[in-house]
Symmetry: D2
Subunit: 418 residues, 4 copies
């Protein structure tokens, strides 16, 4: 079959029609590992607050691919030479960048595969796919891991203004209905250029970039860290952790086979890297079998389990009987935390050792502008390239680089103070 | 707690902000039976073709409630007297009208609860809720079942141009990205009026109604009956039926407890009606525990089952390795069907008795204009009310009333003729 | 300067970003004759009813150009060979197709240049431009006049589903806010193909075409022939005709120089064709100097003119004190018309000879499907091409081909019967 | 006729359907002074850059009215008592707030009526309307001029987050296609509340407010102060000023009567205030007869005037042959300005005294946050009200309060340096 026969157009409510390339990209999209993303919600438990937010990693990956193709088209129009191989590899890298997401995406990241980020799992899966595809993903992997000489390809996939962010901000804004979070991806892509193998934004795109940074911040606090979403995800992970503890205590407990695989083991990044090929494949095969439904079904079983904590947490999740949450800019005083914990211990009749399942404190933060990754660079008309920090008169970047953090405490509503 | 404290605004990507009423409607929305709709996809397997179509019955029900409130507001502005009790009851009826949908909505309707339509199950559940709410749903049930004297309330909930259709056409169009299917719900609602307790459309709304009928037809063939969607749903139900057959043959098989309840039993509408209260509650409690994840998890177990047919079908579903489908306006000749069946028997090595799991034929149809339900009525400026059949010069309604049918045959791609 | 330097991206609220080609197309867009379209409203007096409808022929022409480029891209992807010269010529033809529109577009068409359609004037202007551009518009003119051998290029510019209609339906729908009139231009363009040098629609686009036909009809009655729009345009032309009559009677009257040129002369298509080059250029130069503002300013002068009829009509137009209008499916009886005329004569104290300025009757009609122009052709999967009349089971095309007409009578509100 | 008969629904592409109130508001909308706004472009010459931006002050005024009604509804729902009289007066104040705009809105503000802002003219016209309506606009005028005790009504009409800005940012964003400039008016309005007769924003609306401030800044530089727009408006005002100078020099010159009235006189705010009623009415009557078409027609006459400067500037405007512009953050050195002026004098053969018609320098600035007007106030959950300066951790408000200015120089392209 010829690649050209495989060309496909799909409907995307965000961009209208998306043309999918043929060849290996088509085959990767058809691959069951990628198809699995159809059943993984993009925004974890956010659909408990924004009912429309049931969109999936599948759509997001195709959307990011679409924007990447547009960006490459723009760059070529501006005279940046890009070979077909580089184009295909960049498209593969962005297509597969979220392959390592498990059930409910970020909400259970580092929880199901303990402490391992989704990027690491994406890389593991890409390497295994590379074997299946006889090394055809070599360049894509180099770009993904920033080992390719022309750095701007990596920046398109992962950087301050990459096509990943560009898609998820627009898409998450679209499906939640939080329209202020939308970004002008068309305009920003039109302003892209490359200088010295580095991605730059042409000067007149500076307002769009400022807007983009603000939109990210807005989406962060209004959606990703919405307090009810945080509570729902807190209960979700507490439930899972309780189940895992019971497994370690050898309590009999239903779980789907692939989920059990991860509940019975604690992986670290190191031991995944050191693992032999058989184990790696074992991990991969179990991981790619997981999707949101494993958790939702397990929760139903667990909601009638003998363990009171597990059944209570699971039941709350299913019925959406969530915890209360309080947020403030500074840490909660020990005093207050203790008072809450006492009330919970009294009312719930649980063991002191289990208090963390009911009372959690912590800190969430957002940083608009990350100092570690390369700067957003602005290309002036005269050819000069400068950091946006030097050019924008809008932001106090010293402030923007700071983590903005919020402290939270959450606990059962029925134990609310006053 | 006072109702006013319960007022809530939620974000809906289709309409922007939706204000939810307080009081009993708020309590019904919070009820676990309603919350469960968050995990039931509105359009069954359509998300296999339209990746954005992961929206749920939860959103749709709130959307239909929103439009109903707008319609009631419009009618009141035009001098139609509507009591607060009538308003609340109509809102309850539309809110709960889809409560009886099970996993993947229409795709498995009459399959899981064999031969029983979702409306019947909605009614069963509404009656049980009515007990929980001490009879406060009496009027809502009367409206839902068209036993209330002022018929237009029922027409708002279920009729040729009801708020259910108005929402689902707009919403399904929005999430699939098939923008041509959108309907001007605002304009149509603004044109509503009531004459002799019957819903009518003011004359100048006639083009919007014509457009609405066309949009429905377009969505029907382009989305609801899209041939790839039909194939996916065909495999879904074949898989389920195979599993059920194995259960009847006492083959050992995983299934979630609530799903097992229905796999082990064949209900009919009659025996549900005749059931005693305990059985009714038993049915209800099992039903309201089901959602899409039960099927998705079962499919994973079944994909590695010893039964070759079950494992093959389940595996195809998970990997999206779908069947081929052919459509034509007239039935397939026996000749052709037999040829295909022979090829399938040969290549699949299955028993003749099992051929239906792999080769299905049938007829799907759509009728733009249903002759059984009350006509769409048009109110002329001079006060006359006429059927749209008499007024519209656009359609040949004799044609529109006919069922437009298509015959299909579907079977494994690898057995495709020529 | 090289064409590539001229590439330009403009913002269009309907499609987002539009890339304009360089070269001659850029020069044509910059040409004052084309720039003039910025001051000609696309929808005549429709902005008196739909306040948003202030969009112009300038935007529409660029939008139609944009869609034409997309269509050509799609056809090329499907293997239709199109030379760069053919592409450019088709783009020029669509870009300039509305150059011959005068003030308020259709509202004053055949009124200012008496009896001459805008297409004729477009052609006249294109030929003069062709001289300025040294014959570079030869092929564009052949395509525009359907004298080029490959007929599908003409069909893209002017046919049942041309890019002109595709843009104006979407754009007029967008700016009026009549969202039901929108068409899925993306989908239809994706379904285009060429068989035997004729434009065809691939089979699965049939619903979009049906929708397109309905949208056209809806826009026709809801916007283009909206009764208040008809009244406003009726007053506009009555005012102009009265002024012209006064000019012929040598009454002293302000008018802008370019408008006077046309008020003092009655052209016919024949005498334009027979005109020598000097006269042709004279006509052209006066015509391309006209825009909406000539009429708006003249109306202000005329609103204080001594002639009672002219001042009354002009004043009504400026103040939006419009006439009443009645519509019905059959002609008004002489009886009724006479009664109205008598009342008007009495109340207005005008001469019988002038009654037509105050009482107009007539017929407007729309035909969804024109029998004169080539059929919409549907390409089946098996390669067969059939007329949509044979394929669509939706419409009664015998009906659709009929003119749907409405009879109207309009007259001053203060003379309304009963 | 009863007010209820006058209720009207109009289509607005930005908000969908807008219901207009009956009674006096309906009469004011029908009034010729208000209808005149249909022919005044909202964004001056911005349609030379953004072809879609042909929207008018008419739409904007209705849109702002619509948002004001929504805001009042929200406040009432939150228990703020608002009498029907206060509601109507606020609606009138916002409806008429832009009545004092002349041709091309801001582009010719203080130019046509020399040095007088549109707010002053709006007030003048409102007072004259108040006489026509027998004092029924008293309260509206008090609210408009901030003389009413409950200050939040004025803040809705004119303040940091008033309904005027809310509408124009959304509307200008919509029609230009600069989607990043859109604001979440729905969300912000939902967050409004009143404390101590002052408008406040509830705490969780803070991100929307930040987004609103950024959107304003983006629209400012990307649209309102777009450099090509600035050039076009510069030529527009130079042309007008040249014509006015010729009038003062008694050179014979066409101009429409109402335009002549203002060209022959130099009003100041003081002499308008001191004017007797006859003069006031004279000013008003001439002013309300002006719209964009007076300028467009005058430009055509002037483009063939004997005065070379006037004809050149007018012709450039009509043909869109604009000047070059340079922008920088600091003033241009005298040196550079002189060099440019010399080249212009040489090439244009004009008098030194006329150099300003061809070379303009100046400074434009924007301030995101105005220190003079009352702060945006944020209402915390605990009831505390604080300035956004104290609450937002995003902005450096010391910076935001500063004027951001840009220096420009513009001059004929053909005299461009190097």
């Amino acid at each position: 079959m010829f690649p050209s026969n495989k060309k496909k157009i799909i409907n995307d409510p965000v961009y209208g029609f998306i043309s999918l390339p043929g060849g290996i990209i088509y085959d990767l999209i058809e691959h069951p590992w990628f198809q699995r993303l159809r059943n993984i919600r993009q925004l974890g438990m956010a659909y408990y607050v924004y009912p429309g937010a049931t969109h999936t990693r599948f759509q997001h990956s195709l959307g990011a691919l679409h924007l990447t193709k547009l960006a490459i088209g723009t760059l070529r129009n501006k005279g940046v030479e890009i070979t077909p191989e580089e184009e295909e590899a960049t498209c593969i890298a962005i297509l597969l960048h979220d392959l390592g997401h498990g059930p409910f995406s970020h909400a259970m990241e580092e929880i199901i595969v303990n402490g391992v980020k989704h990027e690491e799992l994406s890389l593991l899966l890409m390497r295994l796919l590379n074997e299946q595809f006889n090394g055809k993903l070599d360049l894509a992997i180099d770009i993904f891991t920033n080992n390719y000489s022309r750095k701007f390809f990596h920046e398109l996939v992962s950087g301050q203004i990459d096509m990943d962010r560009m898609d998820y901000l627009r898409r998450d804004s679209f499906f939640t209905g939080v329209i202020e979070g939308s970004v002008g991806s068309d305009r920003i892509i039109n302003m892209l250029n490359v200088v010295d193998d580095t991605l730059v934004i042409e000067e007149k795109g500076i307002y769009s970039i400022e807007k983009f940074l603000i939109a990210r911040r807005l989406m962060y606090w209004q959606v990703y860290m919405h307090k009810t979403v945080m509570v729902a995800e807190n209960i979700l992970t507490s439930m899972f952790n309780r189940a895992k503890e019971l497994v370690f205590r050898s309590v009999n407990l239903f779980s789907t086979p692939h989920l059990s695989f991860f509940m019975e083991r604690d992986f670290s990044l190191t031991n995944i890297h050191l693992a032999d090929n058989d184990l790696k494949e074992n991990i991969a095969n179990n991981f790619v079998a997981l999707n949101d439904s494993d958790i939702l079904v397990a929760a139903k079983y667990w909601s009638v389990h003998d363990d009171k904590i597990l059944s209570d947490l699971s039941s709350r999740l299913l019925k959406r009987e969530l915890f209360a949450i309080e947020l403030q800019n500074f840490p909660f005083e020990d005093n207050k935390v203790e008072t809450i914990e006492k009330m919970v211990l009294n009312s719930k009749k649980i063991d002191v050792a289990d208090i963390d399942y009911y009372v959690s404190t912590g800190e969430v933060y957002n940083r608009i502008y990350s100092p570690e990754v390369p700067d957003i660079k602005i290309l002036a008309k005269n050819g000069e390239v400068n950091s946006i920090l030097a050019v924008s008169d809008m932001f106090d970047f010293n402030t923007l680089r700071l983590k903005k953090s919020k402290n939270f405490i959450c606990y059962p509503k029925e134990c609310r103070l006053n």
